[in-house]
Symmetry: C2
Subunit: 181 residues, 2 copies
DNA sequence: TTCATTTCTTATCTTTTGTTAAGTGGTTGT
DNA sequence: ACAACCACTTAACAAAAGATAAGAAATGAA
């Protein structure tokens, strides 16, 4: 599956634009849309018991994001999905998404193999990174895995994503710099 | 989907018994079997660069485990799957598993909804626990989520699973006890 | 530009974790 | 029963992380 087919899938869908800090999927929403990011960055976050925003994941261009909890389990979203930059997305209803992918053999294969599996693989790899890697190693891995994202989002989001505090990430960064000398 | 249908799926499959510490799936294996645990506990682990075993996950009765990396991506398993207790499993080849589930409407629906989604949900919830919970909270959650496992496996496995050292888990446990007074 | 806001860094202090090692208690196998 | 082994605890120390706050740097808005 390549980007060509993906564009085919989304070319007849709606396009929506969001300004920085716009909510794309509100918390507690049960909407079942599939979003393909054409331009921009999106993050998912929750508000914890202290009232702080905690970022869970970020998505950039050519990535798909959805309200996983709704699509898979018909549950309201725990997360708010918010544009970090001005963002353009293709939007397609999940049922229509399934209908289209099931009619086109290429897309069906893609949906079965690439799309669903990619979600599982990422979730697995992420859990593995917490079990097998230190915070510093997780940060280095994030930088390597997300070269197109790392300089476009606040470090505090990265800190949340790898499970540490922003202050601690700042110290890790200065530690890495001083080691290089 | 209930256990009845699951038993139906596995009733004509092979049954295998493993002694404590037997490897059920060897590391680097590409076998594509699906295992249903009838009795016993299984853990997956890797050997890290220091030569230490690091446990990633445990599975107990009525749970299914598979060589996820092989089934989804045709890659060799990173993990060894090992019986922690004397264990009896139903074994069925993945292709046969797919064939049977696709013929029986109940099983097909179960495979689409319950089986695949359960894997995703668990992987998500696990990642979330590392982002949103402290080590102590992760331990308490593990105990609540796994009442049938927690007293049957060494604490050192639990420590690995929640991403801390055995020594640290021991301290957390004594902290919890002293708080209760 | 200038001002206000937000993020990042740095500092201080406390708490927790990692590491290593020793000791205790329990289990296993012969 | 006995020895050997393994898991758990505890201790001591070093390293890292969390919490809080203050200042610097960057960003955004008027």
């Amino acid at each position: 599956m390549n980007l060509k087919n993906l564009y085919k899938l989304f070319r007849n869908s709606k396009i929506k634009s969001f300004d920085k800090e716009d909510a794309i999927i509100a918390a507690n929403s049960k909407e079942k849309n599939v979003f393909f990011i054409r331009k921009g960055i999106v993050r998912s976050y929750i508000i914890n018991e202290k009232g702080e925003e905690v970022t869970f994941q970020v998505y950039a261009e050519t990535n798909i994001f959805t309200n996983v909890h709704s699509i898979l389990f018909n549950e309201p979203s725990k997360f708010t999905y918010e544009a970090i930059e001005a963002t353009k997305v293709y939007v397609i209803d999940y049922d229509l998404f399934l209908e289209i992918t099931s009619k086109n053999p290429n897309l069906l294969e893609w949906n079965r193999t690439y799309f669903g599996k990619r979600i599982i693989k990422r979730a697995f790899q992420r859990s593995e990174s917490f079990v097998f890697l230190s915070p510093e190693e997780r940060y280095k891995k994030f930088v390597i895995d997300n070269p197109n994202i790392v300089n476009r989002i606040p470090d505090m989001y990265i800190a949340n994503i790898i499970g540490i505090t922003p202050v601690s990430l700042s110290r890790i960064r200065s530690r890495i710099v001083s080691k290089k000398d």
